[in-house]
């Protein structure tokens, strides 16, 4: 089942009088459970595509469908709800809420929703996530008391808090040294297989790219290669 579908998607930014064609007609799907990587040189359109999938930006042309919902023409409120219910985010610069501690940061997306799970259930789930990302000892620390790698672990747990279908990560390792970056990608991969959550991340690091089972290569806003080597299905689209 295709959980992400892009159909002839174009994105044009206008900078004053100049037009920037960031994405120039892209079509691909990502299947549920994929650990997908979007790669390409700087300016090739990786962030733009992740923003479009993440429903925080809308295409100039073409159709983006997330978990079966076509995002075309949706208002901010509907998009926000869609993001809350289906998506999780990991950012290059971690973006933790500085006034909240580790536990609260992870809990945060859960509290935004209308129908939240019970208190006890929530607590158990958050503690499970904290444990899973290896930060049980840092539960009540603020983000400025953590290292970059630790912060990104919190961010991973946070992205998974609402049990989203898809987690998007725009260059999650770019602000980390390569060893830490590697461990972050491995953690993401572990969560991907443990929870069967679809991950889509961008990178220009070749070694990291190799962990992905689905690689989309971009150049100047166009797909130059789309290869899928899913362990279970094995089919290449």
């Amino acid at each position: 089942m295709a959980i992400v579908e892009l159909e002839n998607v174009k994105k044009v930014y206008t900078l004053g009088k100049a037009e920037v064609h960031a994405v120039r007609g892209v079509t691909f799907t990502i299947e549920k459970g994929d650990f997908a990587s979007i790669v390409g040189p700087s300016g090739s359109g990786k962030s733009t595509i992740l923003n479009l999938i993440g429903c925080i930006d809308q295409p100039t042309e073409g159709i983006v469908s997330i978990n079966g919902t076509c995002t075309e023409g949706l208002k901010d409120k509907a998009l926000t709800t869609l993001r809350h219910e289906t998506l999780g985010f990991i950012f290059q610069s971690f973006n933790l809420i500085p006034v909240l501690n580790v536990y609260e940061n992870i809990e945060f997306p859960l509290l935004l929703g209308k129908n939240r799970p019970g208190k006890k259930e929530t607590k158990e789930w958050i503690e499970f996530l904290v444990e899973a990302v290896g930060l049980a000892d840092h539960m009540h620390h603020k983000s400025n008391e953590l290292s970059g790698g630790q912060r990104q672990r919190v961010a991973i747990a946070r992205a998974l808090a609402t049990k989203p279908e898809i987690v998007l990560a725009d260059e999650p390792t770019a602000n980390l040294d390569s060893k830490t970056g590697q461990s972050i990608i491995e953690l993401m991969k572990k969560m991907n297989s443990d929870l069967n959550t679809t991950f889509v991340f961008s990178t220009h690091d070749r070694t990291i790219m190799e962990i992905a089972d689905h690689v989309i290569e971009l150049l100047d806003g166009l797909i130059v290669k789309n290869s899928r080597t899913s362990a279970e299905a094995g089919n290449i689209s």
């Binding site: 962030s47 926000t80 219910e85 973006n95 997306p109 509290l111 935004l112």
Partner: protein, 443 residues
């Protein structure tokens, strides 16, 4: 709701110095207006107390009647209707006194001076006797002898008289004849009000003889009520109960009140020239609030000036809040983007900022109130030895603060409202920011 409040609350302590300055500005405004309100409130209370003390009551009834010769005189005869009213409302009356009054010349040797003299029935004047501070002589004989007088110390000094000596009283009777009497000085009393409000006191029976009235008649019925809050209604009961049928028909306008330094709460005869004589006694009922009206008018104006200053302070603070919130919005752009990405709705973003404004406003108000409380306690405990004329505004030489709870709420509401208003536009701008742009910002 809870989440936005929590984040807002944490955000307040994020930039402690900045929050402190903003809340401090609000606190300062609150301090100013609260002290102003409390001070004027206290002064009004003190003036009312001092007045009622000086005038010997809260509600004053006077009676007027026409003589056969066509003169209007001030006099209350025994009246079954009035007695009934007094009895029916006894539970609301703390004490009452029936007095006559005159402004005679007091003469001793070659000295003379005009001074207010009350003719009182000492047996019903416990409150008065308690409040008098005797400097020479004693009050013991007052009940048994009629031709005694108590003089304020300065009056005695002016006349050069000693306790036990006799002075002359020269006055006009109610109908305008000259009359002279003799009274022995029983005691000197401290001139408490320091404004010349202290009168001299003699027995009503004796003053009545000099004025040409029967001993059981009097000119003014003064009542202390048990609860000042109900004084208006109480006075109305008497006003309506004492009104004659003709009076009701005439529907005469309430006479204007003039307060004289001599302590007469009303202007008994000076007014309407074209008055047609009537049968029997007509009553006028005054209450302390009518006399306080002038004071309260001034206080009201003062409070309004205070409010305007407060509003100006608030507007200035508002500019500060708006600027600060705009700065906060810019500083937190990425954070807002993150929250929006995770599914925070626009109105929730707005709410965070608005909660911050409310909390800031409330913090400022609370600080302001606490500061004014401390200030009032410190200043209120000082005994001020000021100019005597200022004593009238004080309570035994102390400044009193009395803050109506209503104005606290009003001022707090004003602060919260202006903070909300000031934060509204930055909050809205923060909410309207595109999550994508917010996330790609470099702050």
């Amino acid at each position: 709701m809870f989440l936005t409040m929590k984040v807002a609350f944490r955000n307040i302590s994020r930039q402690k110095k900045r929050s402190f300055l903003l809340a401090g500005a609000i606190a300062f405004g609150m301090l100013a207006i609260t002290l102003m309100n409390a001070l004027t409130g206290g002064v009004v209370g003190n003036i009312r107390d001092n007045f009622s003390h000086a005038l010997g009551g809260h509600v004053f009834i006077t009676g007027r009647e026409w003589t056969d010769a066509g003169q209007m005189i001030m006099k209350i005869r025994s009246d079954a209707n009035l007695d009934r009213l007094l009895e029916e409302n006894a539970s609301q009356i703390e004490a009452f006194t029936r007095r006559s009054q005159a402004m005679p010349s007091l003469i001793f040797g070659s000295q003379q001076t005009m001074h207010m003299v009350y003719g009182v029935d000492f047996s019903e004047e416990d409150k008065l006797l308690d409040s008098l501070v005797v400097t020479h002589g004693s009050l013991d004989e007052l009940g048994s002898k009629d031709d005694l007088i108590i003089l304020p110390q300065p009056v005695g000094e002016r006349l050069g008289v000693e306790v036990g000596e006799t002075i002359l009283i020269r006055l006009e009777t109610l109908t305008g004849q000259q009359n002279v009497g003799e009274v022995k000085v029983a005691a000197f009393i401290e001139d408490q009000e320091e404004l010349g409000l202290s009168a001299a006191y003699t027995s009503r029976a004796y003053l009545n003889t000099l004025l040409g009235m029967d001993s059981h008649e009097y000119q003014m019925l003064n009542m202390f009520v048990t609860d000042l809050d109900f004084v208006e209604g109480f006075a109305r009961t008497f006003r309506e109960g004492l009104r004659t049928l003709e009076e009701e028909e005439e529907e005469e306008a309430e006479p204007a009140v003039t307060v004289t330094v001599a302590g007469m709460p009303l202007d008994p005869m000076g007014e309407q020239e074209e008055l047609t004589p009537w049968e029997g006694t007509r009553y006028q009922v005054m209450n302390i609030n009518q006399i306080m009206e002038a004071v309260e008018l001034v206080v009201g104006v003062l409070n309004q000036v205070g409010l305007v200053i407060f509003l100006i302070l608030l507007v200035v603070t508002m500019v500060g809040i708006t600027n600060t919130f705009r700065m906060m919005m810019i500083e937190r752009t990425k954070e807002i983007g993150t929250m929006r990405a995770f599914g925070m709705h626009q109105k929730q973003v707005k709410r965070i900022f608005l909660w911050e404004a409310v909390l800031l406003g409330l913090l400022g108000c609370m600080a302001g109130l606490v500061l004014s409380g401390v200030f009032a306690m410190v200043v209120g405990s000082l005994s001020l030895n000021t100019d005597p004329s200022l004593q009238f505004f004080l309570n035994n030489g102390k400044i009193t603060f009395s803050l109506p709870i209503g104005s606290v709420f009003l001022n707090t509401a004003l602060v919260v409202f202006t903070s909300l208003l000031a934060a509204y536009w930055p909050a809205r701008a923060a909410a309207k920011m595109s999550p994508m742009k917010a996330l790609s910002s470099h702050t």
